[in-house]
Symmetry: C2
């Protein structure tokens, strides 16, 4: 990875506990009423409008004819490749340096290029051609195994050999703030042997993170585990909404389908792997030697704090889970190496989610399925309300940040309210 | 569906047993060396170049400023909606009418607009945002159940209630003619309990067809079973390549993944639902009443003859299977209604494959897994060669056509040679 020169201080006021510190510079797509969507970077409480900066000649050193930031998504920028990512990041760090008058002194253009986040609407940052969901938390897979196969080994025989995953639905990945409708579907009521068609009764979140591919591989050309991170542009928080009762009835033998594809929600700011470098940390030791194509010469992950809160309608927000990305048994590099080892090609904007991130403690379980142990114990919220699964009117909020030696890099949040199922005839 | 006026005869010579009769007019994307890919229609042994015709003013009645046929795929044309599809089809039928001098007499432009298929390369006709594979043949699902769960009921309890399906990989759908590499992957050798990393030993085809969505539905707005066909633009032959040994080891609990996503192959010509109307026929009676959202007021399917042949390297082509699309238990309308009943949105170009289409007779089984009954019986080819699964150098050819009262509408073929696995270190 490139070594960046990061200035000590910016001329933009950034709160010391802001997710969007000078060393973060996550990319997103925003609009303000009456204007086109475009690419910006979050800095403190502002958005730096990269499309406007480009038009004003600030990115001349990129040598580009066309403005890659005047776009509805990040794909065009990502497709330009790492040399452009690196130049852009270093250019932004320089522009934001308190010592550099280049932009700071041009106060007349500040209203044009510096937008308060409160005035902007965040949009889907990425056009996602392919989406895969992994199942990489040993604790989560073990919990699920204990609940659904109480008489067998909790982990299936392949789990410690394969970063198990499956293809998900790209079309219904939604940006934070988009309301989620409780889905209708086929359920098998307890003790029945014929399904009914009804609104999902066991609606759940799954606390996940996802990485976005910026450098694709062509068909037939696997990505090696030791070069996998070169292909990753950045990461987002990922809420893999799950209808547990629909899932239970439909998922044999080909996996989850309608239980998942009604919606997944992501945070709007893509935090780059460049920004996350200071938070590299060891990944859990693997007690079974993986096959050579999954063996990393420098095995590591990232120390990212995660939390989930529920805000009931007319109620008080309460945190129900605290976890960490570093708990995952399989790393992102292993996931991508496995996914492509058969020659499968990736595309710019592809999204690869981690699977539910649970830790060892009950308080770190990343889904209501686990927190309520299949509905058998109630989770109490601050106002005294109790939950086993998600109710209509609940807002689910996931947050993520990395913190080390006073340096904070945050993801912001993914926040979605759950609306009642559409009234209609079954 | 619109009633078209189809002329009796064209001024273009069309062989009476051509797949590409005057009543077919399937859409594809082609290029000839040194020119851009563009949209054409197959007529006999020729391609009518729609991009060139548009530029010459032949589609003025569509009222379009931009040429939707000067495109690398059909998505732009499909997105214009059914009124434009209908006008285009009727316009083409008129232009091709032997009685109509409009184009037939302008012989000076024929070289420009009428390309011999032999001179053109066919490309991926559609940019596929989302791909789903169903499992809708009762005979196939029963065969698989008998082989893999010999002691249980062959069909799982949900199968007659749900058109079972799963999300597949869109990025690796390839057009006919693209060679397929035998994939590497994790396999569990017989009697072993630790996997090895090796080239797939049990490579298989799956005989399927797929429909392409031309009219999408927005998130939250299900497509009703009785309006589902309005959303379908056309159909292709679909070879769902499968690595049986990789599949067996990886697929629990989340479904097939690397066993499928190295490649799927499609025929290059998209045959419209308009063209297929004469071949509507009853769909199999369902012995379990489906839930109301899957109940069709006019249940039907299409009578389409299917076949698979294997051409060994330096050998003679031999047909190994003959089946029919009409055997499927779940119809395309039921598949699409089910897929969207939870609010899942579709997008223009989405591809929905049927699952392996097997019939009752052994000769109609749509995969080598079934034809060789898990490798236990050999399939003999004309030159005397025997197969249980697909070998390196084999070309697999799938063909499809509908035939009724002398009217023939064909899909052409999907043809792919299998190359040896990449030599590399495991």
């Amino acid at each position: 990875m490139h070594q960046y020169h990061t200035p000590k201080k910016s001329w933009i006021n950034i709160d010391s506990n802001s997710d969007f510190s000078l060393a973060n510079l996550p990319y997103g797509v925003f609009s303000i009423p009456g204007t086109n969507p475009r690419v910006g970077v979050a800095v403190g409480q502002h958005i730096l409008d990269l499309a406007a900066l480009f038009n004003l000649g600030f990115f001349a050193d990129l040598g580009l004819d066309k403005n890659p930031f005047a776009s509805h998504n990040l794909n065009e920028f990502m497709a330009l490749g790492r040399p452009v990512w690196t130049k852009t990041r270093q250019g932004l760090l320089n522009l934001l340096d308190a010592q550099n008058p280049e932009l700071s002194q041009k106060t007349e253009i500040h209203p044009q290029v510096l937008i308060p986040q409160a005035d902007a609407q965040m949009l889907m940052p990425v056009q996602v051609p392919n989406y895969t969901d992994f199942y990489s938390s040993q604790e989560h897979a073990t919990n699920v195994g204990k609940m659904f196969r109480p008489d067998g080994e909790p982990l299936l025989p392949n789990w410690k050999h394969i970063p198990v995953g499956y293809h998900g639905r790209a079309s219904s990945i939604l940006v934070s703030g988009t309301p989620i409708r409780r889905p209708w579907g086929q359920l098998l009521p307890p003790d029945a042997n014929t399904p009914v068609f009804a609104p999902c009764r066991l609606l759940d979140f799954e606390l996940e993170m996802a990485f976005v591919v910026g450098k694709p591989n062509p068909l037939g050309d696997p990505i090696s585990v030791n070069h996998a991170e070169d292909h990753m542009f950045g990461m987002v928080i990922f809420n893999d909404w799950s209808a547990r009762d629909i899932q239970k009835w439909e998922y044999v033998p080909l996996g989850p389908f309608l239980a998942k594809n009604f919606a997944s929600s992501i945070s709007p700011w893509v935090v780059t792997l460049d920004a996350l470098q200071p938070f590299r940390c060891p990944a859990p030791q693997q007690d079974l030697e993986p096959l050579p194509y999954l063996k990393e010469s420098d095995r590591h992950t990232f120390d990212i704090n995660l939390s989930v809160s529920i805000l009931p309608q007319n109620g008080e927000e309460g945190q129900v889970c605290q976890s960490n990305f570093k708990y995952l048994y399989w790393t992102m590099a292993q996931q991508l190496a496995h996914h492509t080892v058969n020659g499968c090609n990736t595309q710019v904007g592809d999204m690869y989610a981690s699977g539910t991130i649970s830790g060892k403690e009950q308080s770190s379980f990343g889904s209501m399925l686990e927190l309520s142990w299949k509905g058998s114990r109630k989770v109490t919220l601050p106002g005294g309300q109790e939950r086993t699964f998600i109710q209509d009117g609940d807002t689910v909020i996931m947050r993520a940040f990395a913190l080390k030696d006073g340096l904070r890099i945050g993801f912001g949040e993914v926040r979605s309210i759950v609306l009642p199922a559409h009234p209609k005839n079954a």
